[in-house]
């Protein structure tokens, strides 16, 4: 009889555990990780409508800069994460300081790398209407060719051949051969062991250096490309560049 009781109890507990734990593959309590994205240009905090010079030597001013962040993960040894936010999408918008600070609850396990993805996985590009950060009212969805714009940079330059010297870069594409999601891995400074803490928020300050948008993996002069607003090879070249925008500035405990 006692065995039956225990079995029933075991069944009930199992049901409870399965139904309430979504990230059951990760161990440890969940604590707060804060990512603080700080857009910059020419080594100073990015300001809209201020003139900068890109590494190619072209003057430019920015009027819009946004990108999607997803799959925020902590790693110990590549490539298996020790903690991951599976379902979170965040739109970082240089015009909205609040959007540059992202807080997620992650399981605390020892880690020495931060990983996140710039862009949205293909499944969310083909599964109908989405909401939250993926709401099409955020202006990051191509309505004529279904799919998300993973990153957007708009502005002007005296060298742009676009209308009124503007440039418009809407970068996206999720199909095989034209993917623009990019995985970013940032190693943490050497220290005995990093873990998320119960009493302190772990904040990682990440520099987003726009200079590299124009020159890093590829040279993409404003004078030769003033607009790109569709998936394809040009989008892929910009994606290869925006994969290089990010460096870890500091990690602070607050």
């Amino acid at each position: 009889m006692k065995t039956t009781h225990l079995l029933v109890l075991f069944f009930a507990i199992t049901t409870f555990t399965i139904s309430c734990q979504k990230e059951k593959s990760f161990e440890g309590e969940a604590y707060t990780l804060r990512l603080n994205f700080q857009p910059s240009a020419n080594g100073e905090p990015l300001q809209f409508n201020k003139e900068y010079i890109n590494p190619i030597g072209e003057d430019y001013k920015v009027t819009a800069f946004k990108f999607y962040v997803s799959k925020i993960s902590l790693l110990q040894e590549l490539p298996t994460p020790v903690a991951r936010k599976e379902d979170g999408f965040f739109l970082v918008d240089a015009a909205n300081p609040a959007s540059q600070i992202i807080e997620v609850q992650l399981n605390s396990n020892p880690f020495n790398r931060l990983m996140f993805q710039v862009g949205i996985d293909s499944i969310y590009n083909v599964s109908g209407a989405q909401t939250g950060a993926l709401d099409p009212l955020n202006g990051m969805f191509w309505t004529w060719n279904s799919g998300y714009i993973n990153a957007k940079l708009e502005g002007s330059s005296s060298l742009s051949r676009g209308l009124n010297n503007t440039f418009t870069y809407h970068i996206g594409g999720f199909r095989e051969g034209e993917k623009t999601q990019r995985e970013i891995v940032l190693p943490l400074p050497n220290q005995p062991e990093w873990v998320l803490e119960k009493t302190n928020v772990t904040e990682m300050v990440i520099d987003v250096n726009l200079d590299k948008w124009f020159r890093s993996a590829n040279d993409l002069p404003i004078s030769s490309i003033s607009e790109n607003m569709s998936p394809g090879p040009v989008s892929v070249r910009y994606a290869d560049n925006y994969a290089n925008l990010f460096t870890l500035n500091t990690v602070v405990r607050r």
């Binding site: 049901t15 209407a129 969805f141």
Partner: protein, 348 residues
Amino acid sequence: MRRFITIWFLVMLAAGSFIIDSCNKNDKSGIQSPSILHIEVPANFPAPNDLFKDNPLTTEGFALGRKLFYDGRLAKDGIASCASCHQQFAAFSTFDHAFSHGIDNQFTTRNAPGIFNMAWHKELHWDGGINHLEVQPLAPLTAPNEMGETVENVIKKLNSDTRYRDMFKAAFGDENATSQRMLKALAQFMGMMVSGNSKYDQVMLGKTTFTLAEQSGYTIFKAKCGTCHKEPLFTDLSYRNTGMPINTGLKDLGRMRITRLSEDSLKFKVPSLRNVQVTAPYGHDGRFFSIGAVIDHYRLFVQDGPTVDPLVKKKISISLNEKADLVQFLNTLTDTAFIKDKRFSQPE
């Protein structure tokens, strides 16, 4: 003792389901749950796509979609609704217009297709650029030459209207109008539009018979048109270049705009021929004003080119008698019950 165990088991089970319930659902107490609807699949149709997997069909969701479809306030000018260009009596295409009118007397650049049997289409638009029915309305809503509005403004308008707030609550559990809910409701309304009750369908189900001319037309159809306009949807959902010379004003490259592959240049989605009698004019740019003109294109005017479909490259041999019978057959594809179905008409 056995009874005790049974009771104990039931208690644990109840507790378990309570826990599951509290984990997965928001509290919806006091709200009547919407009533479930089902898509009607005609007996001679294949199984539809799983269009409603994440969007359960309900009477309330459908009713909201119907109101949205007919509401001109979704457009910038407050006049152009979905139904302005998708008219029920024309099987939800635009009657007698090669190009539909958007706001400010602007023309669109393609012929508005009919809306029916959407649950069997994976890709939409003449170039297949839309990959899900739920996101299709974003295209006409935001195109400057169609409804010219922003998604943000549309949602603002819906949230400031008490009638809509009530309908969103009935369909989705609370009053908040979001773009996702609006699009899911529209997908329910359009996805429910099934046209499969024409004379052709009646004949296929053995309920009636073709006239001699219709039967002859059907035989010709199967031999000369049925590969691309495949039964029972009367489209194989592929993209093909039918040898229509490019419109030099529009320079519309069709499918290539989406895939950027030169092999897709001038290819357009094969339109369904269901309700073809009421959906004139024809072609992606509406250049053919009668069914006869389309048939004549294939008989006489196909212009060869690198991507022209091998099936029409050398034109299609159709005599004038055959052409007349073919038209008779195509007229049996008109689904009068569908174009008069009150469920899909303007509400109130």
